[in-house]
């Protein structure tokens, strides 16, 4: 996750639509984006490192393994994720972009949920321009 106030970059948390806002909760930190301030929603996919920070450390160790054996191991440490990008504006009109990494197949239902709650988005909502 990047692009939200009050929440650290790359934080892991829970994304919900509640009380007219998109809420992201990571431990004690919470950030809210009012649905009315959402200008557009995009859904995409990306292949990334599985296992979070631990996975990253394991991968670095694996890459250092002899005779390229570790490089093959990293093949099993890949995972496909959905990317949900929310374009919204703050009370002063400033443009923001919040990018969330979600388990595969969860971004489109989240977009539908946001649209039903009144968020603006282009009909197709695909990620590429």
């Amino acid at each position: 996750m990047i692009g939200l106030d009050n929440v650290k970059e790359d934080a892991t948390g829970k994304l919900t639509v509640q009380d007219g806002a998109l809420r992201f909760t990571a431990g004690k930190s919470e950030s809210k984006v009012p649905i009315a301030s959402i200008d557009d929603i995009f859904v995409g996919t990306e292949t990334t490192q599985s296992g979070g920070k631990t996975g990253r450390n394991v991968k670095i160790a694996a890459l250092a393994a002899p005779y390229y054996s570790g490089k093959l191991l990293t093949l099993f440490m890949r995972t496909k994720v959905d990317i949900l990008t929310i374009s919204y504006h703050d009370s002063g009109g400033g443009l923001h972009g919040a990018i969330f990494e979600l388990p595969i197949g969860q971004a489109a239902p989240m977009r539908t949920q946001l649209n039903q709650a009144g968020a603006h988005s282009r009909p197709e909502g695909n990620s590429s321009e």
Partner: protein, 164 residues
Amino acid sequence: MSRPAVFVLMGLCLLAMPAIAPAQSAAKPKLSASAIQIAMVETSGVQIPAEFRFDVYERLVEHVRASGAFPKVYRAGDRAASGITDLVTLHTQVDAFKEGSQTKRELTSVAGSTQVAVTASVTGRDGQTLVAQKIIGRVRYFGDNLGVSSDVAKRITKLLGETF
């Protein structure tokens, strides 16, 4: 040449160096502005996923703020920027984008790089272009494809730091 004479010559050279340095920097005077507004990344038909455009934009806001090159940094659309007389605007235009593969990068170390080529330009209130430069951001070895956004934002911030 005697040893004292060599030391005198070296001393004179050292004294002359600070005089040369300002002369070089004076050749390219820095511009000044009290505030910058970061415009949204434009694509003009180049196929680039939305997350890359927004990631570059967010990283630019973050890096330019952290650089301290401008007392105020405004986001696109921020109404507070409208009253600032010496406001400059940073425009980022994507010229080309090649999405690579993290798996290929890690397996081969030579293939699968992600690249984004942009033209970064800064305009003044009157619309005049103050600086423009082509910049290429890359992720070559480690990291997700989105890491290219951070690379391009760092390079643009460096350009701003050299200009302002």
